[in-house]
């Protein structure tokens, strides 16, 4: 009896969502198979990589390899322009770390002004990431959505606490894409999607941020959530879970022990930068294998590898 494997393409598919506008806009999602299972059916769109750039610009690049890639850049705008030349980057994730009221507490106006400058400097799609302070983030998202109308940006994220205001402004009034952020749980993810849809945000304007974690640090929860969400979306045709998945990788991986402890403290571990790169690569590859349609990354070497990884599997 010859080998005759069963194909497992599904009748349901993930929503195809366009990010950005113009020539460099990009589409994520659209697939009707598990990630990279091209032997079941072709993957409609390859997964994408977004580069995380902090509002602190060059000062936020802690590793020599990161600095080297952006050598000569003086501002965030310079860095964004430079990013266009790097291989594998399909979007810019502008991370407003400095807006945190417990930190630098940059004003919303300052943030919006920067977002505008960035939008003028690049044609790449823009993802706006907040500072984790609910009130401040909601304001940043609302104002950025207003200022960047027509650019089709993504705001990360609408959460249980602020989905109404973020959904109503970014998702409805200004026609941007809304990232629905839940805490690594399929039920919470679905609930938030349902709530956003009930509010009036079109399902096609939602992407999911299921939460994030670094390999070695509770990654099993994210892994199983990704597996379960994809199974529900594709095998059970659950329309409330068919939104493409966006996963911030760099914000997690560069804060764990392996990417922080100095070479003096643990000489046997070797190069600190190399450790961080490996953590970022392993986490991003695991997320993509599980079903992320876009990963947000930081180190140019890790991005280069993951871009190659995606190409080799498509």
């Amino acid at each position: 009896m010859a080998f005759n494997p069963k194909k497992q393409a599904f009748n349901a598919s993930i929503n195809a969502v366009t990010l950005g506008a113009g020539e460099k806009s990009t589409v994520i999602g659209g697939e009707n198979t598990l990630p990279f299972y091209t032997f079941d059916a072709p993957m409609a769109n390859s997964p994408k990589i977004a580069l995380e750039i902090s509002d602190d610009g060059m000062a936020s690049l802690q590793m020599p390899g990161m600095k080297a890639a952006f050598e000569g850049c003086a501002s965030v705008v310079d860095m964004v322009k430079k990013a266009e030349e790097l291989h594998g980057i399909s979007a810019i994730c502008l991370h407003f770390e400095g807006a945190d009221p417990n930190g630098e507490n940059k004003s919303v106006e300052e943030c919006v002004a920067l977002a505008k400058e960035v939008a003028e400097a690049t044609a790449l799609p823009i993802i706006i990431m907040g500072c984790k302070n609910i009130e401040k983030d909601a304001e940043i998202f609302n104002k950025c959505s207003e200022a960047l109308q027509g650019k089709n940006i993504v705001v990360l994220s609408a959460r249980e606490e602020d989905y109404k205001s973020v959904g109503a402004s970014a998702g409805m009034a200004y026609n941007q894409k809304v990232g629905a952020e839940s805490a690594v749980d399929i039920n919470l993810a679905k609930q938030l999607n349902v709530l956003l849809c009930q509010l009036g945000v079109p399902a096609q304007s939602i992407v999911m941020n299921l939460g994030s974690s670094c390999v070695g640090y509770g990654y099993e929860y994210l892994s199983s959530t990704l597996d379960r969400v994809k199974a529900a979306a594709l095998a059970q045709n659950d329309q409330q879970l068919q939104m493409p998945i966006v996963t911030p990788v760099s914000t997690e991986t560069w804060n764990v022990k392996e990417a922080m402890v100095s070479e003096e403290e643990v000489p046997e571990w070797g190069s600190l930068e190399e450790r961080g790169i490996e953590m970022e690569i392993a986490t991003a590859a695991a997320c993509l294998t599980g079903g992320s349609d876009l990963v947000i990354m930081k180190h140019p070497a890790a991005i280069e590898t993951i871009a190659k990884f995606i190409d080799s599997l498509m």
């Binding site: 009896m1 010859a2 080998f3 494997p5 069963k6 497992q8 990279f36 299972y37 091209t38 032997f39 670094c214 390999v215 070695g216 640090y217 509770g218 990654y219 099993e220 892994s223 199983s224 597996d227 379960r228 199974a231 764990v256 022990k257 392996e258 922080m260 402890v261 046997e268 571990w269 070797g270 190069s271 190399e274 450790r275 790169i277 490996e278 953590m279 690569i281 392993a282 986490t283 991003a284 590859a285 695991a286 993509l288 294998t289 599980g290 070497a301 890790a302 280069e304 590898t305 993951i306 190659k308 990884f309 080799s312 599997l313 498509m314």
Partner: protein, 447 residues
Amino acid sequence: MALTGIQIFKLSPKKNCKECGSPTCMAFCMKVAQGAVPMDKCPYWSEEAKATLSESTAPLMKTIEVGTGSNAHKLGGETVLFRHEKTLVNRNLYAATICSCMDEADIDAAIASMKKIDYERIGEREYVEFLFVNYAGNGADKYVAVVKKAAEADRAIILNCSDAEAAKAALEVCKAGKPILNGANKDNAAEMSAIATAAGVTLGVGGASIEEIYDTVKALEAAGNKNLVIDVTGADAKETLKNAVLVRRTNLKDQDRSMGYPSIVNLEKVAPGDLHMQTALAAMFTLRYGSIIVMGAPTYAEALALYGLRQNIYTDPQKPMKVEPGIYALNGADENSVCSLTVDFALTYFLVSGEYERSKAPVNLLITDASGMSVLTAWAAGKFSAGTIKKFFDEYDIENKVKSRTLIIPGKVAVMKGEIEAKLPGWNVVVGPMEAVQLVKFIKDYV
């Protein structure tokens, strides 16, 4: 196809003798159907029943045992495709490559560098379990010399060799360690199988395509060799993923036992010399069905990432990861350093200890036994209460081991402050922050 408990019961002796440990034959048969107990616990099966049952109750995927002593490993034995469906059983293992094409100094260096990766993480030893010894076709003598070195390296061995003569010679020097002979293909299967069987070792089967591999496995099984692993490595990453997924899916989902063997994924062949790409692919094959992942020259940095991932994925979703209770002296803490208390849930421990390490403040981190639950869950379940904390303090003799009398408790259980103070007189109980990330700022006031 698997039989139901009722179908098995019809074939059972129906004596209700209880010798199997179950109260009735019915109860026993239900357990057999679930795979919870082996059918040979009952001594009274008729021959006919045995024949019918052994085929259908045998696990879909075989567990293959290789290596000996401290280098003995179990591969395969998986029952589900995704960990949330039940749990994954035998964690994937790693190999470092050496080759008969390398000179002696390079081989020694490769072995030494591989051996440096050896540490403990949450109660598990993390190291490179296998040496993958590649035969470059440059003569059996040369190969035997390299295999001898490998045999002295205190690791299990995979012989990657499709040359019968070299394989035979190599096995002579290492077969006591129960290596894997990886090198059967459609042309040499019978000969390699005879060599592997004679030496009592597991045979690895590969091929130019998944169809070819399937036919070769079928032929080997027909000839009586079921001690196999499947080398799913294809021409590139894409084909290798296809092979790995189709082998496992055909086995577990479509219930074809001929694909029920552990897999070998050779990343040094798919991405030669590309460390970063090997990490990315290894992460993927940890999730998608690699049983042994062969790396070129694994580094400590790769190991930290990949072993962390593996440890996460191969946890039983029904059993949380735990760390040992006790006093963890962080950042050079001594008996006068402030104490901070939390639960033994591994994730909690990692977050809390990570933040304290970042703060550089000397802290005695006290980990209590809370059955591996997180702070609030343990509190709600009564596993993290003033009573359990008092018990922990007595058991570990904290009062005498530590002179400091400041105890920081997690902000989420602020309600316990009064009760803890009542149980631990003399201690200044301080309510810490709600989230671990706030610890760096918080601890500044206590050092």
